[in-house]
């Protein structure tokens, strides 16, 4: 049983769980994810493994309550169980010593970014982190990220905390300030990833992005998670979730995320989990 050991509210509607999943805990690497079903009649949704403790046999999952499934999940308390957890899925992040690594995270995308930043730090990179949020109380994991970063910048859309502006403004600021960046990693709401990617391409910084398309099985069986990368169809669950951000067809990927949204939701940029965009539901970009 995937029993919940710990529950902690990280921010508005954002909950961190520590849950029993011994095999996942011993086998996972940064960048990988699990697929869960909260109940025995629930849908299957992907969640990134935010952290793991192999000795305890637990993993951490961070979930934002935005639609039916994630709402159901955030109701769970320690002692309850998550019906199914399968993983670790996807390819791990390529962690090596690049030199200076820029980690850009937005919204709940900071959760999957954390183990990667930690891995990069352990690989003796200089880690610069930029975290973006729409407003201060939507910012999560700031302290955890600070612990694994040499430098940390926070931006908020409304200026309620850190610098007012977008993560892309912060990237320009860094580069203009003479920082040389060898590798960037961006995880966050799709539009944030798109604009970050356009900028780093312009600046000539190699960039990886972790995609969060709609998934079902996570084994390459359904093709629902397909994305176009470098003009080719890739299945994010087995070929990804990380891809060269400069090769991703962002517009197609963003449109596909809206498959189960109503037109108004898409127009209002209010993707929520009902439309299966839960992971990074419309936060900062």
């Amino acid at each position: 049983m995937n029993t919940i050991r710990k529950r902690e509210e990280l921010g508005r509607n954002v909950v961190r769980y520590v849950v029993d999943a011994p095999l996942v805990a011993t086998h996972r690497k940064p960048g990988q994810f699990v697929i869960i079903r909260v109940t025995d009649h629930g849908e299957r949704i992907p969640l990134t493994i935010a952290d793991a403790n192999p000795e305890m046999g637990t993993i951490s999952l961070i979930v934002q309550s935005v639609g039916k499934t994630t709402r159901e999940m955030t109701m769970l308390r320690p002692g309850n169980a998550i019906h199914d957890i399968v993983g670790p899925l996807g390819r791990p992040t390529h962690i090596q010593r690049f030199g200076t690594v820029l980690c850009v995270g937005g919204g709940i995308g900071i959760a999957p970014l954390y183990p990667i930043a930690k891995g990069m730090k352990e690989a003796r990179n200089r880690v610069i982190t930029i975290l973006g949020a729409r407003t201060h109380d939507l910012l999560i994991l700031e302290d955890d990220m600070r612990n694994v970063s040499d430098e940390l910048i926070v931006t908020t859309d409304d200026g309620s905390y850190g610098t007012k502006g977008l993560v892309t403004d912060a990237i320009r600021f860094l580069v203009n300030g003479g920082n040389h960046i060898d590798q960037a990693i961006v995880i966050g709401p799709p539009l944030m990833m798109k604009f970050t990617s356009l900028l780093t391409k312009e600046l000539g910084i190699p960039t990886m992005a972790s995609l969060n398309p709609i998934m079902i099985d996570g084994t390459g069986m359904c093709g629902g998670c397909r994305v176009t990368v470098g003009g080719e169809i890739k299945f994010a669950c087995v070929d990804g979730p990380e891809f060269d951000a400069h090769e991703v067809d962002w517009d197609s990927m963003i449109r596909r995320l809206g498959t189960y949204c109503t037109a108004e939701q898409v127009a209002a940029d209010r993707y929520d989990h009902e439309c299966h965009v839960g992971l990074d539901a419309g936060e900062s970009r």
């Binding site: 996942v24 299957r44 019906h83 099985d217 069986m221 093709g223 397909r226 449109r255």
Partner: protein, 475 residues
């Protein structure tokens, strides 16, 4: 009854749900024989001494013998005969392409020059299997002794289930690792409820559980556990991971909203119950659904579309009716239900609107040329003849390839150029000693019965391996 009287009996008509009604539910279409119907149909068998039907059966079910048992009313004996060679008769009776196998060879059909007149072997098989399940008559066999040997089976499709069933009965401990949260492989996620009620699949799994098979779900081997870890903890490994890698056409527009692989479309509908309006899993309920392909998967997709409320479900196939690989019964049922068939049409482009939603297809008119490698006549485009057809959902059902997950996790496995695992023809052993494989991961997308046949071969070889090593260990 003498042969000429038998020969004159006409086939029993299988009662079915009315087409107009059944497109509004997901209940099974053929309702099954009553005992009287089964008796009548059984009486049509001539009990040929040369048994051509048995020859046509990939696993050699002793057909005339079980038909004889129906005739004498001894159903328990009948099902026992089938189960000696076929572990899943309730499934096979429903989904095997009998008209290409046993029934194709049947003397009665041959004499009438009409395979439609053959003894309905599949329906009789289903009759016995349903009788057994409905009467809880499944015999729990005496398991000889515990060998102390452990076998890991990867995948719970028909191949994996066969291996598990055979080996547990021989006294070995069996663990089945399944990536999904439910068992059955394609039987669970692909073939729709109205063709194969899931209750049947789950009953078979429950039976194996009673025999002692340990099913572990949510276990993706190669990820949750490495293939090498599995090899270290078990005395033998069977890979039955199937052909779960959907092909796309590689034409423009495949990323548009409303384009599904058949696997995704059917998985949402079956495994995740999206046909139920209250399901947490969404599915696009198109008004006009175009299905690309001509096999069972295409039939299943088109018929599912109708049950999801489509006003039109159209199958686009690039060859003609003649070459369609779907089971005859499925095609026939689809036509009855109002699925439209557009033959000799090849999709060349999927069309969309500015918001990225599918609006239709551009299709190229084809004609048949010389036979190709598959023996079917090759479709060739007729220059200048393209047209546009409207659609709001497009389902790509042009086949699946072997799932590359396990091969990627065990690079020493020898593969063929279609992505299938290379095995010894008789033992199903792979290039890695102690690792066996069978079913769609070896054959590419094939059939349930071929998967079961390979599972059986592998089980035999695994048993030989385990008892041989036991003896050496003892000696």
């Amino acid at each position: 009854m003498n042969a000429s009287t038998r020969f004159k009996l006409s086939p029993v008509v299988m009662p079915e749900q009315d087409p107009a009604e059944r497109v509004h539910n997901v209940r099974e279409v053929p309702l099954g024989f009553t005992p009287e119907m089964a008796l009548h149909e059984a009486q049509r068998c001539l009990h040929c001494t040369n048994q051509p039907c048995v020859e046509g059966c990939p696993v050699g079910v002793r057909i005339p013998e079980f038909i004889q048992a129906i005739e004498s009313g001894d159903y328990l004996a009948g099902i026992g005969i089938i189960k000696q060679t076929n572990l899943l008769p309730a499934v096979c009776g429903r989904v095997c392409p009998q008209e290409e196998q046993c029934q194709k060879n049947c003397t009665v059909g041959k004499a009438h020059r009409d395979v439609g007149q053959a003894v309905q072997i599949g329906q009789l098989e289903r009759f016995l299997a349903d009788w057994e399940r409905e009467n809880h008559a499944a015999v729990i066999p005496q398991i000889p002794f515990a060998s102390g040997r452990r076998v890991a089976v990867i995948g719970s499709g028909p191949a994996g289930l066969t291996v598990a069933g055979d080996l547990i009965k021989l006294g070995h401990a069996v663990t089945v690792f399944e990536a999904l949260h439910m068992p059955g492989g394609v039987l669970g996620y692909g073939i729709p409820e109205f063709r194969l009620p899931k209750e049947i699949v789950y009953a078979e799994v429950a039976y194996l559980t009673r025999l002692g098979v340990d099913f572990q779900y949510n276990m993706v081997i190669g990820k949750s556990l490495g293939v090498d870890e599995v090899r270290q903890s078990y005395d033998a490994v069977f890979i039955g991971s199937g052909a779960g890698l959907p092909n796309f056409l590689g034409i423009p527009g495949e990323s548009l909203l409303g384009v599904y692989s058949a696997n995704e479309y059917l998985t949402r509908a079956n495994l995740m119950h999206a046909y139920n309006e209250n399901s947490d899993t969404p599915i696009l309920r198109g008004k006009s659904v175009e299905v690309l392909g001509g096999g069972n998967v295409a039939m299943d997709s088109a018929r599912t579309a109708l049950r999801l409320g489509a006003l039109r479900a159209i199958v686009l196939y690039r060859r003609s009716e003649e070459e369609m690989p779907a089971r005859k019964e499925e095609y026939h049922h689809a036509v009855q239900e109002g699925v439209e068939f557009h033959f000799l049409q090849n999709p060349v482009k999927i069309l969309g609107n500015r918001e990225g939603w599918v609006t239709g297809l551009t299709v190229q008119k084809m004609q048949l040329g010389e036979p190709d490698a598959s023996g079917r006549r090759r479709p060739l485009p007729i220059a200048g003849q393209t047209s546009n057809v409207p659609a709001d959902v497009v389902v790509v059902a042009i086949g699946n390839n072997p799932n590359p997950l396990i091969p990627a996790a065990l690079p020493s496995l020898q593969m063929n150029r279609h992505g299938g695992i290379v095995t010894d023809e008789n033992t199903m052993e792979t290039s890695v000693p102690g690792v066996f494989a069978g079913g769609d991961i070896v054959l590419g997308a094939a059939t349930v019965i071929l998967a079961m046949g390979q599972g059986r071969k592998a089980a035999r070889a695994i048993h030989a391996l385990l008892t041989r090593t036991t003896e050496t260990a003892k000696g």
